[in-house]
Amino acid sequence: MNQPVARPKSMGVVELRIPSKAEWVAVARLAVAAVANRLNFSIEDIEDVKLAVAEACTNCIQHAHGSDQIEITCETEPEMLTVRVRDYGHGTRPEAISSRRIDEPRVGGLGVFLIRSLMDSVDYDVHPDRGTNLVMTKNVTS
């Protein structure tokens, strides 16, 4: 009989809620960077997480209408950080979170590409009426 695989214990959950305004994005990215700093991430990996969180919050601000708050939840495990970025806006179109790389100079659309490039897993749940729920993880690499 197979033994169930033990999931590492959570080291704790940190929750943050910011106004859905540009001036608060720096607070979110710095707070999550401080959380990542509690794990054994390299400085480079912490910078990756910081940018991914900022891009996620920026997407909420630019594409979600009617949501005045962004919820950021960090779940810490010894070897992994999971960050959830949630808004309750409406009107976000799936193409707003489409990912692209630069092939020709064009303004906009790089945020999701950066998130997918910098994090180890990214799961976007976009609903036109219920808002957007982004869950992304970063593994601690030795």
Binding site: A22, E44, K50, E55, T58, I61, E104, R106, L110
Partner: protein, 114 residues
């Protein structure tokens, strides 16, 4: 969090835009305005110095791309000075290294304008 922007005239008709701080969704309009003002005044050869920029996100990249598009319409170009490894990495993974001239110092970026 803020961005300091300093614009100075350089050789020929070129201009240098010195940026100091963090470029994100909140601060990037200030950078956009500075670059836009130069272009509106007919200056199409620009060096944007990112040596003192500690952080840039996609909105900051968008401002640089927008500036490059506008000056190219007039036969000009935008060269960047960038030494921060994390920021270089962002230019690399987005493919922007193929679009911008990115240099380690201002002299090299200026020479490449000519």
């Amino acid at each position: 969090m803020d961005i300091k922007v300093n614009v100075r005239e350089a050789q020929g008709d070129s201009y240098v835009v010195d940026l100091n701080g963090e470029i994100d969704v909140y601060t990037s309009p200030k950078v956009k305005d500075a670059i836009g003002d130069l272009i509106d005044k007919g200056h199409y050869n620009l060096v944007i110095n990112l040596e003192k920029v500690r952080y840039i996100d996609s909105t900051g990249l968008g401002v640089l791309i927008g500036g490059l598009k506008r000056v190219r319409e007039h036969g000009g170009t935008v060269n960047l000075v960038c030494t921060n490894p994390q920021i270089k990495k962002i230019f690399d993974i987005t493919g922007l290294v193929k679009i911008f001239g990115i240099y380690d110092d201002e002299d090299a970026a200026m020479k490449a304008l000519v």
